[in-house]
């Protein structure tokens, strides 16, 4: 069980929860998220993602990573949790989502 920025991944049952809510993902979407979560907020390049979430026969010029990441973003919902680092790759946005969640939950916890 891995947790980061409100995301909870169960690698054995291949299930993902965001803030306690179940999110249904496809196989590739889960694989990509698993790699990003394992990097713990670090940047993962598209090439790395392709190598680790797809097989070695994948076409290096494929759009698969871009398409899967954009579908994954949509499935995980707002606020966006996967950030694009221009020219480098993708990472889980731990800071922003953590601070936003703190702001959102703060009034509720005080009341």
């Amino acid at each position: 069980m891995r947790e980061i920025a409100g995301l909870r991944l169960d690698p054995f049952r291949r299930e993902v929860y965001r803030d306690g809510r179940y999110v249904a993902l496809t196989r590739k979407q889960f694989a990509v998220l698993e790699v990003l979560v394992a990097a713990e907020g670090g940047v993962v390049s598209a090439e790395d993602l392709l190598e680790r979430a797809w097989d070695e026969n994948a076409d290096p010029f494929t759009n698969a990573v871009r398409i899967t990441v954009s579908a994954l973003r949509k499935r995980l919902g707002e606020p966006a949790i996967i950030a694009t680092v221009a020219g480098v790759g993708y990472r889980i946005d731990t800071q922003r989502s953590a601070s936003e969640r703190a702001e959102e939950t703060a009034p509720g916890t005080r009341a």
Binding site: Y22, A24, L25, T26, R27, K28, Q29, A58, D59, F61, T62, N63, A64, I67, T68, A71
Partner: protein, 371 residues
Amino acid sequence: MDRQPGVSVRLKLTLSYAGFVMLAGALLLTAVSVFLLRGTPNGIFVPNLSNLSNLLLAFDPTNFGPAIFGPVAAAMLAFLLVFGLLGGWILAGRMLAPLTRITDATRMATNGSLSHRIRLPGRSDEFRELSDAFDTMLAQLETHVAEQQRFAANASHELRTPLAITKTLLDVVRTDPNLDTGDLVDRLHAVNTRAIDLTEALLLLSRADQRSFDRECVDLSLLAEEATETLLPLAEKRGVSIETSGDMASTIGSHALLLQVTTNLVHNAIVHNLPDQGTVWVTTSVRPRTAVLTVENTGEKLTREVVSTLAEPFRRGRERIRADPAGVGLGLAIVTSITQAHEGTLTLAPRAARGLCVTVQFPAAPPHTGR
């Protein structure tokens, strides 16, 4: 079913006709006797049958009066009995005649002759309705059986092809032992894969037709993304781009079978597309009672006539092309059968600007059944 022999309907009807005629006649005569012959001696009601000439008096028109009532009544009742039995027998026979034709047709259908029709002439009545319903049933059975036979013939033909190719390849290697076996193994492998694909497609078809599968809540938009993931390498190889969009659309059904539907549709949309720069749009949406999956693609201009034949088994695009490596030709047939098994509808329509638009509608899952 074996049954005990019984009284025929014709005889039963005849007896009941005769019975009613007798009853009516007796009642009428009783009424006459009660209201007209009151006060006359009771002896007249008992005709003296010991003397036949006494009875014959009844047929002499010059005789009349209470004295003659007894013999006349007996003669009338005897006549009514004969009339009722005879008339009843003829009438019942006429009424029941269509039943014999229907029974004959049923016997012929049982023996395998489904082309026979009863076609009862005349205006509508209960028997005509029965015979028309029977004719409709026979016609449907006939088309269904013909369809099955054609399918079986096509399926065996398609299955024979890879086996025949395998045999040829093996013959070649037997006559020429110096042949490059690597190439041969590759070709055998390809042919064998094709045979397996075809067999699996046939199995899938029968499984969907029997409706033996587990049902769960399935989100069509997730299936669309999964199918896109699987087929993206093929699409990129053919220079086709896939755009997936739409809302979550849940239905109840088999995840594996519905994924097969989506994959087959997207696969067809990629394969039957423009040679270059083609596009496939996969969209999901929810209407009040239905979950809708739409797969559109660019491609050749299609007429309605061509589109209406696309779902037939073993048809690939315009013709049944043997050399086309696109698939086994069961894709849309499988989609049709799985869709029907899920109480859904499949609509194929040519797009205004070239290409095809395939819409599958499933009953929407009731809310709160998903996780």
